[in-house]
């Protein structure tokens, strides 16, 4: 019996290693696929017109509406709420040191550099990334992707490029809007709680926040938009086995893209604060 146990342990280690190896290879393959998708999308955006197969403007516009405009109500509402929340916490914390006057510095910088892009990224991952995965997954199992292929229509050009353009354009814009709404929410609370006029608050924010901070946040939003699109498309394209498969991959895409956003955010912060 102990012999069996002795033999089982190396086997189990080997199996575990095997499984880890497999998922590592799978992971690397997915990253590689993402790189290829990105490259092909850029190719079609740049050279599609030249090859007389341009990326569809109507579809791109429709995607933009979906990614950006239709997300406005929810992003606005959550941004204002979070702005108020940051102000409450900021004032509460700084009051301990009697430094609540300084709250605008913390608010301005953290919202523009961090929370605006992060909130927007997570919202878009949940809203658009998931629907992209579901849409492509559904098209895959109903053979619509095959249909494109046999009609001589490149699916990357037809489906992925419009989505990517829309995301790359709209997510930074949405982030800008989220920044503004968070700062407004925070400003409203600051003016009520500390009796600071809204104009004075605005002036302070303008003094504190530099263009660099803004660009830092927007660059992240740009990266997030690419990540969310690729994760959504790859998971959609990998759907197997009917509606249940679509549901599974949709969930996976949301979890993966939010994780990717947070990790990228951390790496980005680390790198940009070094130099």
């Amino acid at each position: 019996m102990s012999e069996a146990g002795d033999r089982a342990i190396p086997t189990r280690i080997a199996e575990t290693l095997d499984r880890m190896g497999r998922s590592a290879v799978g992971g690397i393959a997915e990253v590689g696929l993402g790189a290829i998708l990105l490259w092909q999308s850029v190719y079609w955006v740049v050279l599609g017109r030249h090859r007389e197969q341009p990326v569809r403007m109507a579809a791109t516009f429709e995607r933009c509406m979906e990614v950006g405009i239709r997300a406005l109500p929810i992003v606005t509402m959550l941004s204002v709420t979070m702005g108020v929340m940051f102000a409450i916490q900021g004032i509460y914390t700084l009051r301990v040191f009697g430094a609540e006057e300084q709250v605008t510095i913390g608010l301005g910088i953290s919202i523009v550099r961090e929370f605006g892009p992060l909130l927007t990224g997570i919202m878009v991952a949940g809203r658009t990334g998931s629907s992209l995965a579901a849409r492509i997954g559904t098209m895959r199992i109903s053979q619509e992707v095959d249909a494109l292929e046999v009609m001589g229509i490149n699916p990357v050009r037809f489906l992925v490029a419009p989505a990517l353009i829309a995301m790359v354009v709209m997510v930074p814009l949405l982030t800008l809007w989220a920044d503004l709404m968070m700062l407004t929410g925070a400003g409203w609370y600051v003016s009520v709680d500390m009796g600071m006029s809204f104009a004075a608050y605005t002036q302070r924010i303008i003094d504190v926040v530099e263009i660099d901070d803004l660009m830092h946040g927007l660059s992240k939003a740009f990266l997030f938009s690419i990540l969310i699109t690729l994760v959504g498309v790859i998971n959609g394209a990998n759907v197997k086995g009917g509606a249940e498969g679509v549901g599974r991959m949709t969930t996976r895409s949301v979890v993966l893209s939010i994780s990717a956003i947070i990790v990228t955010d951390m790496i980005f912060a680390f790198i940009t604060t070094r130099s």
């Binding site: 197969q53 619509e144 292929e149 046999v150 009609m151 001589g152």
Partner: protein, 281 residues
């Protein structure tokens, strides 16, 4: 269904024995992962003929179709479509070749974001420089051919199963292809609608003179439309021949395939009793 069958028998089956092949498959082997699905298949389709690929579920029909469409890369062998070797040509050449084929997928594969007319116009939009009005007229013409006129502005989700198939056929032939592929055209349809779809396939071939490759597991439909039938079983081709040749084949596996249908579909009690007693003798 016998109604449509009679109609078919009115039509002379064209003599195509001398026609050149538009599809030529040699020693085709395909794998899914490590599993070999098709074992060295040889297969040809002549110009202007309706070739039915028939076989039970899991016999490899869809796999063969996907290989013919260039959706699945074969492990070995060659596939010539209209003289071009699918396994050798570049992507650009493949795109050009694909303008000359049309595919009606099993579930229609219509795009949910486009209405029926836009779906049918899509190949024209992508591959021609015609102005929108011309494209609309051409698409409407094809809609008339498939008896779908008047449903231009419906969304695919508002169509019935038979209408979806018709729309899929209209989209498949809108570029006047040389070869039309249909995957399980009568699957999921009631017998009357299925017979009407068979009739449509015959009409399309007669009107446009194209070659047609139909994948189906339904014998009724296969016998109704086929000029020749290719019987697939477990990844091998058992036999290729005319309807009469297949019917009169002495090959045991083919007879099994043919009889399975009579057992499950014609529930004539007298016939059943006769066969029971025959088995007891």
């Amino acid at each position: 269904m016998s109604h449509a069958a009679e109609k078919r028998d009115d039509r002379p089956r064209p003599d195509l024995s001398g026609a050149p092949n538009v599809i030529e498959v040699k020693k085709l082997v395909t794998h899914y992962g490590a599993r070999e699905i098709l074992h060295k298949i040889d297969f040809g389709v002549r110009e202007g003929e309706i070739m039915v690929i028939m076989g039970g579920s899991g016999s490899g029909k869809s796999t063969l179709l996907n290989a013919l469409l260039g959706l699945l890369r074969p492990t070995k062998g060659s596939i010539h479509i209209l003289g071009e070797d699918l396994t050798q040509i570049s992507d650009v050449e493949k795109t050009l070749l694909r303008r000359k084929i049309g595919v009606a997928f099993q579930g229609g594969a219509l795009f949910g974001s486009l209405n029926v007319l836009e779906n049918i116009m899509l190949p024209l939009r992508e591959h021609t420089k015609l102005d929108v009005n011309t494209m609309r007229i051409m698409a409407r013409l094809k809609m008339q051919v498939v008896s779908l006129a008047g449903f231009e502005h419906l969304n695919p989700s508002e169509l019935s199963g038979g209408m979806i198939k018709r729309a899929a056929f209209a989209r498949a032939v809108v570029m006047d292809p040389k070869i039309l592929f249909c995957d399980e055209p009568s699957a999921g349809l009631d017998p009357i609608v299925a017979a009407a779809i068979d009739e449509l396939i015959l009409n399309l071939r007669d009107a446009m003179g194209m070659s047609v490759v139909v994948v189906t597991h339904e014998l009724e439909s296969a016998f109704r439309i086929a000029d020749r039938i290719c019987v697939l079983d477990k990844g091998d081709i058992l036999m290729t021949g005319t309807v009469d040749e297949i019917r009169s084949s002495t090959n045991e596996r083919i007879q099994n395939l043919l009889n399975r249908r009579t057992e499950t579909e014609t529930l004539d009690p007298e016939e059943y009793l006769k066969r029971l007693t025959a088995a007891n003798d």
